[in-house]
């Protein structure tokens, strides 16, 4: 999922200070799962903002709505009936959702309420960790299902660097060395000979190296 964290409340307050009526829009997808921008978080932020402004002597009118998915135009269309009655929109979705709302409603200022972080997985309740960097050319088939692009601090392709110590990365004793994990898993799978194969230099144009990317499915695209 795409993970996110709520922005500091002061930053959000500054965004909406000039406005009176605010539409606060959540998303039922990734940001709900990582407890950053779902229906509940919309309620919490709405309550916090109203109290913060009341304390400054200003009564804010908050409209709350959570879309099924904020990165799809079909769902963003739902806001049509509410948008004219508000001065600005605050989105609790990832950057994709914020931009989709901004694209659809050109004459309304749209502000992000979360910082979009990374594509990650849930390690345990309340803990999410980066797992995929969206490099566009997945290596997991030859790295024992552990990604050296997302999980090695240096994105090394052929084994650990000199900073790997007792299975941990030199950036922090809290961070696993991805290549130590890969080696241990290759051993467990009896596939250690894979480690001998040199992985050639990666074509980063599949990633962000060639600018913004797009997928066009000819059979589906209209």
């Amino acid at each position: 999922m795409i993970t996110a964290e709520r922005k500091p409340i002061d930053e959000i307050i500054e965004y909406i200070r000039p406005f009176q009526k605010i539409l606060l829009v959540g998303c039922n997808e990734c940001v709900t799962v990582c407890s950053a921008g779902g229906r509940k978080e919309v309620g919490i932020l709405s309550s916090m903002l109203q109290m913060a402004f009341l304390k400054q002597g200003k009564s804010l009118q908050m409209l709350e709505h959570t879309l099924e998915r904020q990165c799809d135009p079909e769902y963003v269309e739902e806001l049509v009936s509410m948008i004219d009655g508000v001065d600005a929109v605050v989105s609790m979705a990832c950057g994709c959702g914020v931009q989709e709302v901004a694209r659809r409603y050109r004459n309304k200022p749209v502000f992000p309420a979360v910082n979009t972080k990374f594509m990650g997985a849930s390690e345990r309740q309340g803990v999410w960790a980066e797992r995929c960097a969206g490099c566009g050319d997945c290596l997991l088939g030859i790295t024992a299902g552990i990604c050296p692009i997302a999980r090695c601090s240096k994105q090394l392709m052929n084994g650990p660097c000199g900073g790997s110590t007792n299975g941990k990365c030199e950036i922090s004793p809290e961070v696993d060395c991805a290549w130590a994990l890969i080696w241990e898993r290759l051993k467990a799978l009896n596939l250690t000979e894979r480690y001998e194969e040199i992985i050639p230099a990666k074509d980063w144009r599949n990633g962000r190296g060639a600018g913004p990317r797009k997928i066009v499915r000819e059979d589906l695209a209209e």
Binding site: I9, K58, S59
Partner: protein, 145 residues
């Protein structure tokens, strides 16, 4: 305080059915006095109390809120009281962020047999909130409306 009337705080107590709520009952049965400022909301477990419930209480004008759950290790649902404690700590940070103040929110733990403790907590917390004065939200709600 600018008004002449003494300040009577509005306090919301989220009480677990299995401990604090029964303790409140016991306090009543034993004719123990505790301040009428405390309004009790019975919940099936303190772990049921969400950040949103607490914030809404403040938004609607509460001057103080507390969550009362079972003693450590005694939760009817295993660890609801532990979760509630962590949630209260989280909401305390949110309250600090918006300038309401974390000291207006507290977590207490007691058993169903601790009627005296319930009355004591109600008295102490009411006095703490009375000393802090009214939350700015209650009066501003009225002014801004």
């Amino acid at each position: 305080m600018t008004t002449q009337e003494p300040f009577e705080p509005v306090i919301i107590a989220f009480c677990c059915h299995y401990c604090a709520y029964t303790a409140a009952d016991m306090a009543g049965t034993r004719r123990l006095c505790y301040p009428a400022n405390v309004s009790i909301i019975r919940v099936p477990c303190s772990g049921k109390v969400d950040a949103l419930h607490i914030l809404k209480a403040f938004e609607k004008g509460a001057d103080g809120v507390y969550v009362a759950g079972c003693l450590d290790g005694d939760c009817h649902f295993k660890n609801g009281n532990h979760r509630a404690s962590r949630r209260v700590a989280y909401v305390q940070k949110l309250l600090n962020d918006i300038g309401i103040g974390s000291e207006r929110l507290a977590m207490f733990k007691m058993s169903a047999g601790m009627g005296e403790r319930f009355a004591e907590v109600a008295k102490e917390f009411t006095e703490t909130i009375r000393a802090l004065g009214p939350t700015p939200i209650r009066s501003l709600h009225r002014d801004a409306a």
